[in-house]
């Protein structure tokens, strides 16, 4: 904390102290010397807790909000990776050919998706350990189904030279499934 900040915070406190001191000098307080010191400490402790609770709760809520935002950002990045695959397939259908480079790009996107799932899992483990198993198991299953659809058929064959509307339609069905499941997961995260 620099000197300017110290002055900003301490000046009003000093002023308040002077005012209270002056008022006490004008109208001296009658202190009840019969009050038990433990009762006084109890009172001070209660006031302290009353002041601290909103601060702690607020900080806790703020932290949870930040963590949820990070997790949601991970899922949005994953959505965007799957979107890249969709775009490649859409573009290759319009071009009338799919090259080895396009297929490599799809494979790279699927690898990237795996790494994003791992990153999401690691962060979820820290933030919400009780939810990891259920959420990540489902996410991995959906991702595996999509991966199997995209690379498990003829697409990786060197004889697969163009994406037709039938393939793209089937792909869109699978893509929509994973897209919906990721968006649903984002909703769930907000409700944690």
């Amino acid at each position: 904390m620099n000197l300017k900040r110290i002055l900003i915070f301490s000046a009003p406190a000093l002023f308040l102290g002077v005012v209270v001191g002056y008022l006490c000098a004008l109208w001296p307080l009658e202190i009840d010397t019969e009050v038990n010191i433990l009762d006084l400490l109890d009172l001070l402790f209660t006031i302290g807790i009353a002041l601290m609770i909103p601060v702690f709760v607020n900080r806790l809520l703020e932290n949870r909000k930040v963590i949820k935002t990070i997790l949601v950002d991970e899922l949005k990045a994953l959505l965007s990776t799957y979107q890249k695959i969709k775009n490649i397939l859409r573009d290759t259908q319009f071009k009338g050919e799919i090259t080895k480079l396009d297929k490599d790009h799809i494979q790279i996107c699927l690898e990237e998706a795996d790494l994003q799932i791992i990153a999401f899992e690691e962060q979820l483990t820290i933030a919400f350990p009780a939810k990891v198993l259920e959420i990540v198991k489902d996410l991995k299953l959906k991702s595996k189904i999509y991966y199997k659809f995209v690379t498990g058929g003829d697409l990786m064959s060197e004889h697969f030279l163009s994406v037709d509307s039938h393939f793209n339609f089937q792909h869109n069905v699978e893509y929509t499934k994973i897209d919906i499941s990721l968006k649903t997961l984002i909703q769930k995260l907000y409700n944690f």
Binding site: E111, D114, K144, I145, K148, L155, M156, S157, E158
Partner: protein, 112 residues
């Protein structure tokens, strides 16, 4: 069981693996199975040791390649024997291991 042999797919086969069958292009799962995986796996079973398979440094493994190699091996030899004699490693992407193990356990894909 002790590890006595290894396959580094990116070095011993290709860092750019292909599709399922040999007729579908180079570096297929079928070719990998026939030339590397099956012979080394059979030696591991006979010798009573573990074959270490390193999946790192490659571009990734299409499902058709995994099915044509590990899936086919599983159909021929059985999942339990494979999981007993093969240890997979991937520091680059641990989900590669999960996908291959899933393929070994369910080579026909009925559990999906």
């Amino acid at each position: 069981m002790e590890i006595k042999d290894e396959i580094i797919i990116a070095k011993d086969f290709s860092d750019h693996v292909g599709a399922r069958y040999k007729r579908e292009g180079p570096f297929s799962g079928e070719l990998f199975l026939e030339t590397i995986l099956l012979p080394k796996f059979e030696k591991a079973v006979q010798g009573g040791y573990v074959l270490f398979v390193d999946l790192d440094k490659g571009f990734g493994y299409p499902s058709s390649f995994v099915s044509g190699s590990f899936g086919k091996l599983s159909l021929e030899k059985g999942a339990d024997l494979i999981l007993k004699h093969i240890k997979l490693k991937s520091d680059d992407n641990p989900l590669r291991i999960d996908k291959i193990i899933d393929e070994i356990k369910d080579p026909t894909g009925v559990d999906l």
